[in-house]
Amino acid sequence: MGQNLFIQNALSPPILFFFLGAIAYALKSDFEIPAPLPKLFSLYLLLAIGFKGGIELQKSGFTYPVLPTVVAAILMSLLIPLICFVILRLKFDVFNAAAISAAYGSISAVTFITAESFLESQNIPFDGFMVAALALMESPAIIIGLLLVKFGATKNRPIKRKMKWGSILHESMLNGSVYLLLGSLLIGFLTSAVDPTDIKKMEPFTGELFYGAECFFLLDMGIVAAQRLARLNKTGAFLIMFSILMPIINAVLGSVVAKFLNLDSGNALLFVVLCASASYLAVPTAMRMTVPEARPSYYISTTLGLTFPFNIIFGIPVYMSLVNTMIPQI
């Protein structure tokens, strides 16, 4: 069955468009999507998933299992960076280890979306409130990353790089993509409480268009991931191993927690995917600002060039099998 899932995932439009982009780079086609068009799609996707998540959260309210799941997600985004940090310190200095750890504690919204699409075509139900978990896993991971630097490297840093609590919170909460996601979530939540007709009027934009826009964006992500992958040789074997094995470890951890939370298989997959995925939007941006000592190529190239494609191509079906094994469906 696992192999079946793999093929079904690989032949879905989002993944095929991702391949189309990656192959364009590999074959040296001059196909490209010029800046800032990819930004349009990334803004759109964040706005749309936030907004829809807010609506669903309003519907479900904070009943079981919403609150425990969200809390567990936040805890995972604090715990995972610590595990990563311990592993990464074997090879990297505090700055690099902390920055990479933060990325893996955080999430990739596009991986999440792809997992949702996968569940939809498998006809497995899942709940909209999982987006709240997604939205709330970015900031804690950033904070823990910055704290690791603050306390791990306090002696080595020149005075002007001493981190202040203000800027840690600013970077973690007000980063453009975190802000848009959380803001749209709140707007969806508020609006659907007040006026359901407004929600309906948004539906063609945030709902119907979503799948196509996702495919278009993945086309670009294919090019970008292939470019990053091509440059990965400089990062060394340790990091390459890390960026494949760590998601799997995190997925296993996540599936245990999901079982413990008693989630249905759909929500469980999403939870696992949140744990397994790594951030290439909010976290790298925050790290670049606050930990300039860390090499961006370490935390961007691995997350974008390896972890992201691994997760959407192999990870999702594998994690689905894992979830199916651990959480027997009725």
Binding site: A35, S42, N175, Y280, P284, T285, R295, P296, I300
Partner: protein
């Protein structure tokens, strides 16, 4: 008159511009969306959508005194995050 060319990550743009204002430059021009490579890092177009930011190229035409006033502040920003700053001669048309 002098011409000053600054190239650095657009995320430092606000800091650089306020350093320029403090030195009372007569004006400046900003061109964003530049990419490039420096001694350590490579800046590519995809950094625009990840929020990481591409480079900004700032041009300032001004007197030598202003250059001298600018120097300290700009250098401290550029030494922190990287970037280059070069001065050349320019004459008003």
């Amino acid at each position: 008159m002098k011409r000053l060319d600054l190239i650095f990550s657009e995320r430092e743009l606000d800091d650089v511009l306020s350093a320029l204002e403090k030195a009372e430059v007569p004006g400046y021009t900003v061109m964003k969306h530049a990419t490039g490579r420096g001694p350590e890092r490579i800046v590519t177009e995809d950094m625009e959508f990840t929020g990481f930011g591409s480079n900004a190229h700032v041009i300032i035409f001004c007197e030598q005194e202003v250059i001298d006033k600018i120097r300290e502040n700009i250098k401290s920003v550029l030494s922190y995050y990287g970037g280059v700053a070069y001065v050349s001669e320019a004459t008003p048309l």
